[in-house]
Symmetry: D2
Subunit: 475 residues, 4 copies
């Protein structure tokens, strides 16, 4: 397995193709550090006794010990461990651990390439396994590039004014394909080794050029990453883990990018585009049943801490709100466990979570995220929004005043009161915190997408039949 | 195992001690039939291939095949099967299957009697096992009598104006104890073999007389069952399973009832009263993670059927509401699965579900039940409330009019439209349906009780510590 | 103005055309009494100093003092008084006062007949005023018959398999029209003087026969009222106002009913059908901003009383829930006040409430009704559903037990505890209570209808323009 | 009336006592400009025909035309105009208009000083009127300084470890008083003429030193304003009103500040501290019934615009969500109208809104604000959170890519799509937007405070009496 040092060196050695704030920047730009540091955790903790069992697995290909973030799930137990690993790692960085997306896409490809082969006599799965072996051996970080920019939502891919609004094949050559388009909301793309590209939706027959899946190095020719960092404002005095970790999103532009055949995993099989899109979504939403409870843990802990510092830790309405935060997180986590238990072994041997339980879990997380913000804002009070600049707490002109007037419970020192409010500001009153709310809705698919997934799988007719039986209706 | 015929004969042979509508009635009174018929299902279906594996188990005492409703859970798998059995049986009778409560109380006793013995050197567990063997061998139906009438909720048991407002021991004799008081909301007590009596709450040292648990025949001397049936109005023409099954609740009065020692499982151990109360509650709330999803199935099916009959089955807002009903039921069911997976083996060997997952599941069911009523009422329309009497559909004066004007989709015959609305009336516009809503909140403990259970077990401090770490607070 | 005695005598003198439970019954059938008694309040209280100013008005036609339930609103003040009168009268009968519907339909006709005349040169308004004079002079009770049975909701009136599924004109004669069809959910029709019939929806050009409005005696030839009473179970011992009042709904069948021209107020003007339907709806929803707060008052009072009797009146969570009940009722009432203040004078001189405020008020009531049930059920506890029969409290066998075990706060006597629970049973655990929930959603138009009304009137473009201005978008 | 130029000159002439980011800054620091520009609107629009009638009033003192932001309300009509003015001005600056707080405090003082005088024979009201005349004649901007920093919320003011945690009188001199303490969340304090200081809560007898109210110049000796700007990130290319306006909050430190007697309006009258606190709160919450609907207008417009640009403007679920946004805003606005209509004339002649309607309105706004964020986030999609920097849209390296891939509906140009998303980013994905959510809960008092206000005024006993009457309970 790779060390975090090796991961970092590799990233720094890549061709500069990241654009930020109007400039081409190197991957050594300081805005990358919080993201790289987050990923580094997934390497550094493999030997930590608290995480080792969760963070490693045995490759079903090589039989070797590998990082679980490169593993194809083989069983319920693998899914339970992935879910638990996700929750625990998110608590270390105080946010999304980010590396899940790549392996969720890989598991989706594992399953669907086999199904395509079975149906069409192609050999995508063999190609995929070869690539997987490379991915595992090198312990790579993959970005999942799924969301097309989508243009007019009322039109299908092939109906758009500009065909590039969904990424598509523009040329099929002897040695591979050439693609054009863009993928949006690509977290970690700027510090990933590889981009795993898959379709964003079901496609119709005339959309063969859009039915494409492949893997490509993140700095391959023609790839441009227009990036936006989501890090907390650097602190000068109050250093803390919450500011150490962060993320960066990219709009990834594919400007006639060449992909060799051994990295192409779908090429025109439109009837499988929807399955691949939704299989990735299922794996990724299952990851959310791990990470969203971690976010609930943090909101719960912060709410409880602020209540304690404010002297209202035992108030009835506070305990009521804490209990509601718990139910949100644990219903989501419980749904993920149920999805693992009720999962299924696919033709490829890869194990997949149950679609309905996965989606009700992710759905519940999505429709409650803003309520979690609201609860913390409610208990923390207005100071979350009006906390003076950090510097004011250290300037001789204002330091004494601020240390005097930030005091709440008298046995908690001013610095800790300040630290607690600075964290709350990070969580709910910063642009990064605000973005967490939005990704809490949309990441991995918004609530409306989960409803669609649920409705497509749930046996409503069976329930109608029960009711007809109870009513004595025979027909 | 007993047959339903044997169960029925036994019930009919009992001493008349049921009072209803101002009279002492025999158990052959027609209002008992819907309840007895519901219980009969639990006997009749043991050989049905669809239910056999769920409805039977192997006794850990005798090694013999027994009805799962008399089984002590030994593993995650037992809990998963109990949960699934509950959901499936509720779909046969269209309501609560009722027999869960007795076995939930028995499992609670199994676990807690052992813990008492371990702590105090008593021998309750041995007594209990002997009783259990009798219970299993005779395939008995037990009512769980837990809720005291409780008097002034602001006062503790020993502070009440009348000490009998919580059931308590009034005499300890050489051969047993004598108890007095009453237990409320005792579903099935009127057609159960046995009453399993346990405390309703945690007790303080001065409340030794209230710390009592025992089993007693439902027609033992001194027991009076003041009963209220909850059955649907008998139909003359539109016979249907929804009206075949029903329930009956009792206020069970214990007027100086004698209980021999071999049926006494707690006698003054106040420090275990709370544990027994909550251990039963945990088992029973876990049963709710099976039965409430069944009720959601029925509401979902009824809503979908009414939408179809009204011609709006494909409307966007209808599909949206169906998806929300699904998420309610499956989040609850998923929490029950997670509780089974994350359960624990107690000192007694009996397996218990995880407290937090069980309670978040039951909680979510409780806070959504009225929303399920609302959704069905919304889609079914006002006719649920204004449907003319059944007789009007068969009187020559009005039959033609009603068959003409009840028509919706023209390919569904008038009788089926009528049957569907009659069922909806049963579900949401009848006194029995209304009571289902109330028991959906309170049965097994209301949402406020689940919050208390969650808060008592959840490690909030661990979440605070995560947040302190992230904020850089060391203390 | 008429006395309640005169009203009652008139009703009893009508031709028997009410069918119930398979039989033709006279209006002296005891099931009518609770409804008739409710209407009688609107006559009896006109001289009561507490109600006189609200319950009477000055006719703009005759200049005479009339019952406000026959008045055409002339001003904001009239609307405010109508709203307040409605709330106060509902508190006397503990439910819907019922007489609002007729006058809401009359106000709608007043406004729209004038608009039709202005557009088409007809003389409906003159006819209407003549009829109104008759209506006021005789102080009549009108039922508003609007909701057609509607058949397949996916088809328009003229597309239905049976054209009668929406009431329509089958013949135009020299002396009047002949209509056929049925109107559903006709509360009070069985004890009203007159039926005021109006369209249920907007119509298209080919639906001229369905564009019809008229007034007719409730016992006119060809009219059949298939009725369902919604009264509380008669009590033998615990007499109380809650059981004195009730209602009755009818499916009103029009079997080739002749209507003379001077009672016809729309005859084929399809372009005004939607306006008339929605103008009635607006008036009626405005009435809901009076009656629904009254229901909230009752749920609030009952919740507060049960909390007090249970000894938890001061508990933090109880006070929290009471405050939420208050916000529901007063937001609805406040919206009704705003609708009155921001109303408009129509061409006819009749004053109408603002559509948006009226509809947001009614909407908020509709989406909260089941939450009000839930709150009362939550605080009252399970006894609401398992309260033994009244008779058991008076039988020598069980009286002492029940009086002993119903005790809560020791300073409230058993009978009052019993009375309080009997009321709660009526409100939330009876078929009549359950129907109140359903009519809380659908009466006057369900939430989805209010959203449609709001969207049809609200100036969304103006808000888009504000946002474009703020964003600097010029186009 | 003052011009905006005069206001600005006055502000710039003040003694520098504002600290920001560790430094003492002049009021000409660029971070002040968005706030000053917002206030300037209240001067500039007095002659605009669209605003003149709302923005001016006739002084009841001088009979002269004055800015309504200096007016004592005399009638329902004044309150209705204040509410409408607030909503309309907030739509010009796209946020809080800010000047309401000072006049809300002044109205509160007008009412309560008279009540104190009536009760205690003091002459505060005369002093106040003199000060008011000065305030009106000079058309001043007042900041309302109410919220103390409050220390341990579990302790009363006089119990705090540091008595200064609530502002209090430290010395009473012949010529005035000296005060010490701090007031938090003081929006506009840094660019206001005057600070209007009032108590934050009810006080007990031993807290006479904390019962203090006064007015003071914002740059008086001893006053230190530690400030935090909440402005949108300056744009280089996409200039737009949304970035022109902003606000600044201050922690206002009173370090032994002298206040002459003629500016002291409460001095130890502890029994009126709660009334003054809540009377200001009532006026200020009534202002929220104007400004929060404006924020709803903006969220509604932005949601509708994004839906249109994304091509889903007519989708059923979108229209459903727009309708819900409308109901939130108009229920709040309607409650404000009702509060104005049902207000009362106080002893001072100043007119005050009804407490219950005001508070249910503010409450409803507070509990829905995060839901409004959620709705916009839901419809706008993830790009709100991942929009690249503005500069990237203008750099030659990335401009073409971004203009190509931001395209949605093809008839909306790339710049407008960009402008729309930039605005949405400002609203929900920026630190300033996030702070708006928090102030949406807490500004003017959080939902828990409104519930307390409601419960203190609502006649629950009257509702209990109704229910007792209905139940037949006499006692």
């Amino acid at each position: 397995m790779r060390t975090s040092k090796e991961y970092r060196e590799k990233i720094l050695s890549m061709r500069p193709n990241v654009y930020m704030n109007g400039k081409l920047v190197g991957r050594d730009h300081p805005d990358f550090e919080p993201g790289i540091r987050t990923l580094a955790l997934t390497y550094d903790l493999v030997d930590d006794p608290e995480y080792a069992d969760l963070l490693t697995a045995t490759s079903h290909l090589s039989g070797e010990k590998i990082n679980r973030f490169t593993h194809m799930h083989q069983s319920t137990d693998d899914l339970l461990k992935k879910q638990e690993m996700t929750r625990k790692l998110c608590l270390v960085c105080g946010r999304c651990i980010q590396r899940c997306m790549g392996i969720d896409a890989m598991n989706g490809l594992s399953l669907v390439t086999k199904d395509i082969d079975n149906a069409k006599g192609t050999n995508y799965h063999e190609r995929f396994l070869k690539y997987l072996r490379f991915f595992q051996d090198n312990d790579l970080v993959g970005n999942a590039a799924q969301s097309d920019v989508k243009g007019d939502r009322n039109l299908r891919p092939h109906q758009q004014a500009d065909p590039d609004l969904y990424l598509h094949i523009v040329e099929r050559r002897e040695d591979g394909i050439v693609v054009r388009g863009a993928k949006a909301h690509n977290s970690i793309a700027a510090y990933a080794d590889e981009l795993i590209v898959i379709p964003t939706r079901a496609l119709t027959k005339e959309e063969g050029d859009w039915a494409v899946a492949f893997a490509i190095q993140a700095d391959a020719p023609g790839i441009k990453l227009i990036s936006l960092p989501h890090n907390h404002r650097k602190r000068k005095h109050l250093k803390a883990p919450i500011e150490d970790y962060g993320t960066m999103h990219a709009l990834t532009v594919f400007d006639n990018v060449f992909v060799p055949w051994d990295r192409v995993f779908m090429n025109g099989e439109t009837e499988f585009a929807g399955q691949l899109a939704s299989q990735f979504a299922t794996y990724h939403r299952h990851s959310y049943t791990g990470c969203k409870p971690a976010l609930s843990d943090i909101f719960l802990g912060a709410t409880a801490l602020m209540a304690e510092y404010n002297g209202i830790g035992k108030a009835s309405h506070v305990r009521d709100k804490l209990a509601e935060l718990i139910t949100v997180g644990e219903l989501v986590y419980g749904a993920g466990i149920a999805a693992s238990v009720k999962g299924f072994k696919s033709a490829s041997g890869t194990f997949a979570p149950d679609v309905v339980f996965t989606n009700v879990g992710r759905y519940h997380a999505g429709v409650n995220i803003y309520h979690e913000f609201e609860t913390l804002a409610d208990i923390a009070g207005g100071l979350a929004a009006t906390l003076p600049y950090e510097e004011d707490f250290y300037s001789p002109d204002t330091k004494d005043d601020l240390e005097k007037y930030i005091m709440r419970k008298s046995d908690v020192c001013a610095e800790n009161q300040h630290r607690a409010y600075r964290l709350v500001e990070n969580l709910i009153a910063s642009s990064t915190g605000a973005a967490t709310g939005i990704s809490g809705i949309h990441g991995g698919g918004s609530p409306v997408m989960e409803k669609i997934a649920i409705m497509s799988k749930y046996d409503i007719q069976a329930r109608k039949n029960v009711v007809k039986y109870l009513a004595g209706i025979k027909d």
